[in-house]
């Protein structure tokens, strides 16, 4: 099972339906590189967990997240998300999978020629949500992320922190089971980052599982949540209430 480092051990024998993510002996090789990006990785993440994914650049964090989205398939091993085995999932089912996952990135990835509200609405429009629903939920989620009154702004009229809030609103507006955040505070100053973390925590409290890849040890240390550390494609640490570096 999960290796236990210097934190409290995790309860074993979870009921399977509580698992939202499961990796079994997952190895990912990229053709161009001799060293595996992930090397026999096995782990489980429960519904409603908040997990930090840490490790240096090239340790396999991004590959980990890509496999969960089925942007890539593992070379060996099994990836299960919300009870569905991604290895055997057909291409046509992938959109359905992604509707249950929200994504946030370091570079926000907003549409520059659309307003804040339009950016959030876009995520719903392209999955055919009815107009009525969109009209109702977009203001709700903008209020939740603290952007009420900025719905008509364009992204470049906002600060970095505000842009990331738009991105989070877009990722969360469809109430995903899992929110994947790849270095969401990577471009933000510490104070702004703290605000973003409070927001992610709030989203986590609604029952959404949050998986966040990060280099920001201040954040990891202050949050005291589960930490999975990757090193050279292997999990070298998995702690329930972890800090960024051992002995820091």
């Amino acid at each position: 099972m999960r290796p236990v480092a210097n934190g409290s051990s995790r309860a074993s024998g979870e009921v399977p339906w509580r698992l939202v993510i499961e990796l079994q002996h997952v190895t990912k090789l990229y053709p161009a590189s001799g060293r595996p990006a992930l090397d026999d990785v096995s782990t489980e993440i429960d519904k409603g967990e908040f997990v930090f994914l840490i490790g240096s650049s090239g340790s396999g964090k991004s590959t980990f997240l890509r496999l969960l989205l089925k942007e890539d398939d593992p070379t060996r091993g099994t990836v299960v998300v919300n009870g569905k085995t991604l290895n055997t999932m057909s291409k046509w089912q992938v959109p359905k999978l992604r509707r249950t996952m929200g994504c946030v990135f370091q570079d926000f990835r907003l549409l520059r020629n659309r307003t804040v509200a339009e950016n959030v609405a876009f995520a719903l429009e392209v999955i055919n949500k009815p107009h009525r629903t969109i009209k109702r939920v977009v203001p709700e989620v903008l209020e939740m992320v603290g952007l009420e009154g900025k719905a008509a702004r364009l992204p470049h009229e906002l600060s970095g922190g505000e842009q990331q809030r738009v991105a989070i609103a877009r990722a969360f507006v469809n109430r995903p089971l899992v929110l994947l955040a790849d270095e969401p505070t990577g471009n933000l100053d510490p104070e702004t980052s703290e605000g973003i973390m409070l927001l992610l925590e709030r989203i986590n409290r609604t029952g959404t599982t949050v998986i966040m890849a990060t280099h920001d040890y201040h954040i990891v240390d202050s949050m005291r949540r589960r930490v999975i550390e990757l090193n050279g494609g292997q999990i070298t640490r998995d702690q329930t209430r972890g800090v960024y570096g051992v002995g820091r």
């Binding site: 046509w92 992604r98 509707r99 249950t100 995520a123 877009r170």
Partner: protein, 294 residues
């Protein structure tokens, strides 16, 4: 599917790559126009075959010094022969009249031909055109008032092989143009996909269906194909009005060349439109599958 969304994406896409879109439309139009021309020529050839092959297969030209007895003997032989389906007699005057009509565009040729220079003849339609040698044998050249027996089918074969060649050449150029059009469509779609990679990436991540992501691009190509087809049909109409109906008016009137009627163009137009839209859409779809990650 949200129609407004898809249509606005299509409009934006076409506007953003205006130069490529114009190039794509023009090549498509030229290719489809040539294809239409090829089809019209093919239709004309089959019309002409009907006109010519049905009317005349064998001409029996009579000698200048043919006697009335010889003439009636030949006629009797024709009307008794089981090989002959029908025949008509053409006098010197009738032959001259037909000649004048055929060459009305070349008056100097008509002026320099005396009215009695053309021989009188029997125009014979055979039951089976391939039995020509058997019939020719019955009317030896230079005997019994017969000057010469000629297989008009032979001449027509050469004429039609020329016309077929023209048709094939037109279609060959159309195919080469179509290839260029397909490559341009593929290129334009790749460019459009690159221009909109932010949108499509986000669509992919939030779980938009493949169709939702791809449809704007495919419609974009199909619309360009349709515009190209409309231009091609316009080109055919102009060709008919400005070239065929004016320059070829004489031979058409004389019944040498069948006219290009509006019905033929109306029949070909939907074929061209379907080919334009279909090929463009398929090219776009294949491009998206092969080169673009959506």
């Amino acid at each position: 599917m949200r129609v407004n969304f898809v249509l606005s994406e299509v409009a934006t896409g076409l506007r953003r790559n205006l130069t490529m879109t114009v190039a794509m439309i023009l090549t498509t139009a030229i290719s489809l126009g040539l294809m239409g021309t090829g089809l019209l020529i093919a239709g004309m050839i089959s019309d002409m075959k009907e006109i010519y092959y049905d009317k005349v297969q064998v001409s029996i030209f009579l000698a200048d010094d043919v006697t009335d007895e010889q003439r009636s003997a030949i006629e009797a032989q024709l009307s008794d022969s089981p090989e002959v389906a029908a025949y008509i007699y053409e006098s010197k005057e009738e032959a001259y009249e037909r000649f004048r009509q055929q060459f009305s565009q070349q008056p100097e040729l008509v002026e320099n031909t005396p009215p009695d220079a053309l021989p009188e003849s029997f125009r014979v339609e055979l039951v089976n055109p391939e039995r020509y040698p058997v019939v020719a044998e019955q009317f030896p050249n230079g005997q019994n008032g017969v000057d010469q027996v000629r297989d008009e089918g032979d001449f027509l074969d050469r004429l039609f092989s020329l016309l077929n060649g023209a048709r094939n050449a037109t279609i060959a150029v159309a195919v080469v143009q179509a290839l260029a059009a397909l490559l341009l469509i593929s290129n334009t779609i790749q460019l459009a996909a690159f221009n909109r990679r932010n949108e499509t990436n986000i669509m992919r991540l939030v779980g938009a269906s493949r169709w939702y992501t791809q449809l704007p691009f495919i419609l974009e190509a199909a619309l360009a194909g349709l515009i190209g087809a409309l231009l091609a049909v316009g080109g055919l109409v102009l060709t008919k009005v400005l070239f065929v109906d004016k320059t070829l008016a004489g031979p058409i009137k004389a019944g040498i060349i069948p006219p290009v009627d509006w019905g033929a163009i109306a029949t070909i137009a939907p074929v061209i439109a379907a080919a334009g839209v279909g090929l463009a859409a398929v090219a776009a779809y294949v491009t998206l599958r092969l080169y673009v990650r959506l």
